[in-house]
């Protein structure tokens, strides 16, 4: 009954829709929220949405993980491995950036007691 979901168009469409929604949720958070940590979370959500698009659209239903293991000795029917590698790399980078940001935000809070992005006025001349 739900086979139609396996057709690549629908499958990709659903994922695309979902990740775009995720992306816009992130964008909304980024633009509307004032708290620094919330902004970092929003950025992360946007990044994740992009990863999701990459992974989802590069993979079609029925493809297996691109790992040679028991029983799987040829490359046929496997998903494209490159997006997965890319995503892994990108996640690492994203984590690094978020970690840096979070630590900076904490230090900033300790020094000034501020957490809102709109309150950052140290650089006003």
């Amino acid at each position: 009954m739900l086979e139609f979901l396996d057709s690549p168009r629908v499958f990709h469409g659903i994922y695309l829709l979902g990740s775009l929604m995720l992306f816009f949720i992130g964008l909304y958070g980024l633009l509307a929220k004032r708290h620094l940590l919330k902004i970092f979370v929003s950025i992360e959500i946007m990044e994740l949405a992009v990863y999701l698009i990459l992974i989802a659209l590069a993979t079609s239903p029925g493809e297996t993980a691109p790992i040679l293991s028991d029983g799987l000795l040829t490359f046929t029917g496997m998903a494209d491995p490159i997006p997965q590698a890319l995503t892994l790399t990108a996640i690492v980078i994203g984590v690094a950036v978020t970690a840096l940001g979070t630590s900076m935000a904490i230090q900033y809070h300790r020094l000034t007691g501020k957490v809102g992005v709109g309150e950052m006025t140290e650089l006003k001349d």
Binding site: L30, L36, I39, I43, M46, E47, V50, I53, L54, L57, A58, D80, I82, P83, L86, T89, A90, I93, A96, V97, L100, G101, M104, A105, Q107, Y108, L111, T112, V117, M120, E122, L123, D125
Partner: protein, 491 residues
């Protein structure tokens, strides 16, 4: 045993040094090593000039392109890599020789500067778009950290702002890369260039816009450059020198490298890019008129020059491109000079606001003199090198019988003169200055004098580097040659 030099060294050596740095116990050695590394890499770059003149050098990593990752060393990337290493060398020499604050001489600074230079070199050298993203993020992370290095309120705020806006830019770029990959299944730049034309037009526009905006944020183009003044104001001037001298140039290169590669006919984007450049230039120069803080003023001036370079590169004729590359080199040198001077002034006066720098010419005659020199160079007044590069750009426009950019460039230069000379006048005000900080030793001026000498030399004898710039312009514009060298076929 023969040492095998490869372009990988430009990335590997700084990375290696950065990661090995915890092994050094003696902090005093850090800055000399930093200087040494950059000087060595600069020498290495110079040694490649003859090779690159003949053909671009492809350094394959593991698998041959288009499947594998490779570094593409041609005249233009060599030029930029050499420039980055010069900038790194100058800044590290300055940090070593002057009384820089401890946080700028410590291990974090050492690591981050190396990462910044390595990342920038990587962006310029890589022939793979995902690698580009990785290097971009390396540069980004190190830049955010460098901005906040001082760890006081202002530095942290600048760092946070930079991080937020930089991450968003990175997401835009990543999005564009993802779309590119999904559309073409390629990550190699040459292969992408070959296949980009087959993508449906609306998708092309979307990818192009995402990429353009992402890179424009990074490369400080109007209206995506609102973050710049705050960051330049908050970070240490020594670090800002690197941002203005290295980072922006790397991003500008990437932007135009992609434009020239992906678009078979750069004329499509010409008007857009030129308009972007022209507005950047005029807006920045106008806003700079009102600035009261030297760092902000220099930030806007930097934006103005970036706009000029964009305008010239966007026109994509050989003469304007060569001139723009020359101007990139000049601007890097000039902004290094000016920002490092700002650092000296900041240490002496504890503030670089206009009102506090009255009569600086008496307290720091050499610094004031060098500032004048830098200002003259950035305005493009002979006999300094800014003149030669600007003339080259203008000549390129005149050859093509296109006059509106000439008018705008000259108008912008006049506005620029309006504020630079205001500062100079204040520096030479007859009132005696109030000095609060400490005086600087003469050694700190060595790298600055070196730059000044270079500016003069390149202004009087620009033919020394003429050939290189022409080759670089050809390499940057030569889409066909690029594709052929990587894919082995005529597109």
């Amino acid at each position: 045993m023969t040492l095998h030099f490869t372009p990988v060294w430009f990335i590997a050596v700084p990375l290696l040094l950065a990661f090995l740095s915890p092994l050094w116990v003696r902090l005093r050695l850090l800055m000399p090593i930093l200087l040494g590394a950059h000087v060595a890499l600069f020498a290495l770059a110079l040694s490649w000039i003859p090779t690159v003149r003949v053909a671009p050098l492809l350094e394959t990593i593991v698998i041959a392109p288009p499947l594998g990752i490779h570094l593409h060393l041609d005249a233009v990337s060599l030029l930029l890599v050499a420039l980055f290493n010069v900038a790194g060398a100058v800044v590290s020499a300055f940090l070593w020789l002057s009384h820089a604050e401890p946080h700028l001489r410590g291990r974090p600074a050492f690591i981050l500067i190396l990462l910044l230079i390595a990342g920038s070199s990587g962006m310029v050298l890589t022939g793979d778009i995902f690698n580009l993203y990785v290097f971009l993020e390396i540069v980004g992370v190190s830049a955010y950290a460098l901005t906040a290095l001082r760890r006081d309120k202002q530095a942290l705020e600048a760092g946070l702002k930079y991080l937020i806006v930089g991450s968003v830019a990175a997401i835009f770029i990543l999005f564009a890369i993802v779309l590119l990959y999904l559309q073409t299944g390629q990550l190699n730049l040459a292969a992408l260039a070959r296949d980009f034309g087959h993508i449906p037009a609306p998708m092309q526009a979307l990818i192009g816009l995402l990429m353009l905006i992402g890179l424009a944020i990074k490369a400080e183009l109007f209206p995506f450059n609102f973050w710049v003044p705050d960051i330049y104001r908050g970070a240490d001037p020594e670090i800002t020198a690197l941002f203005s001298g290295v980072l922006v140039k790397a991003f500008l290169f990437v932007l135009f490298h992609l434009v020239f590669l992906l678009l078979a006919d750069p004329a499509v984007a010409r008007t857009w890019l030129m308009a972007l450049g022209a507005t950047t230039m005029l807006v920045a120069e106008a806003v700079a008129l009102r600035q009261q803080d030297l760092r902000r003023m220099l930030a806007y001036s930097s934006l103005g020059q970036v706009g000029l370079i964009t305008l010239a590169l966007g026109f994509a004729s050989e003469a304007t491109t060569a001139g723009a590359l020359f101007h990139m080199v000049n601007h890097t040198l000039i902004k290094l000079l000016l920002f490092l001077l700002t650092a000296l002034m900041l240490r002496r006066f504890l503030s670089v606001r206009l009102a506090d720098l009255q009569g600086l010419g008496r307290a720091m005659p050499l610094a004031a003199g060098l500032f004048v020199l830098g200002a003259l160079a950035v305005l493009g007044l002979p006999p300094l090198s800014g003149f030669a590069s600007k003339l080259w750009i203008l000549k390129g426009f005149a050859e093509a019988q296109v006059f509106w950019p000439i008018a705008l460039i000259l108008l912008a230069a006049l506005l620029e003169a309006g504020y630079y000379f205001r500062w100079i006048k204040v520096f030479y005000a007859p009132e005696p200055p109030v000095t609060a900080g400490q005086a600087e030793g003469d050694w700190a001026y060595t790298p600055l004098l070196l730059i000044a000498g270079l500016l003069l030399l390149l202004g009087v004898a620009p033919f020394l580097l003429e050939d290189w710039f022409v080759q670089a312009a050809k390499a940057l514009l030569g889409r066909g040659a690029f594709l052929e060298s990587v894919l082995g076929v005529q597109p």
